[in-house]
């Protein structure tokens, strides 16, 4: 056997060629504009996160875990009138529970209504009514939240108080619906209802969009098998739209958790851990920040920033969870 030079090609088969393209200048400029647009939102979000962390970190360090679990908010000054970081207590535990509780109530109420509205708009509404209703729902999404808050306070609360009493009367044996002392106004339940009305347009828009994208050939297949409208919706539209509706609900949940003014109007900010949804006590993180911000001293401001940071992380966590759920349930039905 003669000596041969072994080239890389004869060892590992043919070498892979590097494939390159030379983009045009105009293409590169456009790519740059698009990229900077996309990055700017990421940068702004990062800066907000950095700002909140920077401001709130010292409070988080001195308060430790108590900041999340505790329910006291007391600024203590020593004899000379100086801020006393040791004795001062900042705890947003009650507010966190209030945030989650009222947001969950909002979702439980809003999602079924939204799904039904979306199905109505797509499959039942006559065209003229559909046009009007879509416009109204979209308008609702853009409505200032203070107006929802005022409406909730003056119009909804008296009725909701009665519903709350009914719930308590018939379901009071469930700890969640216990009320003691009997204060029915300004409860997480009522805040949840107001939030539900604010969340409905968001979830409805998303659900309407995904339902309308149901492949028509599947709808026709169902009808050709003798389906009624409802059985077609159950077999085709709902499985197809499920992941989208979950995504919409999570978007709404994020909105409900971050809502400030409307909740501030209808919910008592009370530093007390309250699991009883009908009882008039609670508050959420965002409305607490609004409440305290006006008269807060420099140290308290830092604590409010820390509270903002926690809310930021909570919202982020909910969105990531939503993403996970959508991806998990996405494959089937699509």
């Amino acid at each position: 056997m003669s000596q041969t030079v072994i080239s890389p090609a004869s060892v590992g088969g043919p070498t892979k060629r590097e494939i390159t393209t030379q983009p045009r200048v105009s293409d590169r400029v456009f790519a740059g504009i698009v990229t900077s647009g996309a990055l700017s939102s990421l940068v702004i979000l990062g800066l907000i996160f950095f700002f909140l962390t920077f401001q709130g970190f010292s409070v988080l360090r001195t308060q430790g875990f108590r900041f999340i679990t505790g329910s006291n908010w007391q600024v203590v000054q020593d004899a000379a009138g100086n801020f006393d970081p040791k004795a001062t207590q900042f705890g947003i535990g009650a507010m966190l529970i209030g945030t989650v509780l009222s947001a969950l109530i909002a979702i439980v109420v809003a999602v079924p209504i939204s799904i039904l509205s979306a199905l109505f708009l797509n499959f039942f509404a006559p065209p003229f009514l559909k046009k009007i209703m879509v416009a109204v729902v979209d308008l609702m999404a853009a409505f200032p939240s203070i107006l929802f808050g005022l409406w909730g306070f003056f119009i909804l609360m008296p009725s909701a108080e009665y519903w709350a009493k009914l719930l308590h009367h018939f379901l009071g044996f469930i700890p969640l619906f216990q009320v003691d002392p009997p204060i029915y106004t300004r409860s997480p339940f009522i805040a949840g209802l107001v939030l539900a009305i604010m969340v409905i347009p968001i979830v409805t828009s998303v659900a309407r969009e995904v339902f309308s994208q149901t492949p028509p050939d599947r709808i026709q297949a169902a009808y050709a098998l003798g389906a009624t409208r409802w059985s077609m919706i159950r077999a085709v539209v709902l499985p197809y739209g499920r992941s989208g509706v979950i995504g919409g609900a999570m978007l709404g949940l994020g909105r409900a958790m971050g809502e400030t003014v409307a909740v501030y109007t209808v919910l008592n900010v009370v530093y007390q851990v309250n699991w009883h949804v009908l009882l008039g006590a609670g508050g959420n993180v965002a409305s607490m920040i609004l409440l305290k911000f006006g008269e807060a001293g420099p140290e308290e401001i830092k604590a409010l920033m820390a509270a903002g940071l926690i809310l930021f992380v909570l919202t982020l966590a909910v969105n990531s969870l939503a993403d996970l759920i959508v991806r998990r349930s996405g494959g089937k039905g699509r």
């Binding site: 026709q220 297949a221 050709a224 098998l225 003798g226 009624t228 059985s231 077999a235 085709v236 089937k332």
Partner: protein, 282 residues
Amino acid sequence: MTTQPLTSSLGEVAKNRFESKIASTQVQGIGLEARGIHAWFGDRMVLEDLSLDFWSGTVTALIGPSGCGKSTFIRTLNRMHEFIPGAAMAGQVLLNGQDVYAPGTDVTKIRLKIGMVFQKPNPFPSMTISENVLAGLKLAQLKVENKDDLLEECLERAGLWTEVKDRLGAYGGSLSGGQQQRLCIARSLAVRPEVLLMDEPCSSLDPGSTLKIEETISHLSSTMTIIIVTHNMQQAARVSDYTAFFLSEGGPGKMVEVGPTGEIFSRPKDKRTENYVTGRFG
């Protein structure tokens, strides 16, 4: 092979009656009869005055160039036409003598009796193979004694049983295109239709799958009425007993000629039919 032998006795009756009166305007009260069908999309008339009989145990092929109203016609038969916004129709479709467009008719019952297989395979992707086959029962809220038997029977008749019997729990989307189309045929059979409409069922399939579906059609034709729209002249010649030639000459689509498949392909009466089947246009 041009004309399929008619196996069932009903088929014989049909053949005799059909040949005595190819496109009658009188109502016989048996099988599926279309009488004076017109169809519109908005203001545009797409089908004009079409009368045609379909008998149990026969396969009728509808041929003609694109846009001549073949698909529109079969969609008027099971009332799928009305799903298109602006669609309208005139005339009568009689199933065993009953007008399917009569006021008060339960349209879901009509579609149970007149099943449909579409151009593109459309199994329900959220359902398994067996759930797909039995989907019609759930959709139309029908009760069946033994679902497993029905499942096997339908897949067997659609020529798919041996290929999928070990993976009935797999999702419908995991099958090949040809298998998906046979799954759709099995799904249509599960509600026991009297008539099966097939709208170019093989146009998106490879020759092997096409052959399998043609075999399936041959098997099914002994027990039911099959109407198949096809662009493939060989397919029409292979599977059908009768062929109707549709044509649109600028205006709405009309039926030029109908007759036993052998005659349409060997000695058509109309010059336009001859030009089309010999491949001179279309």
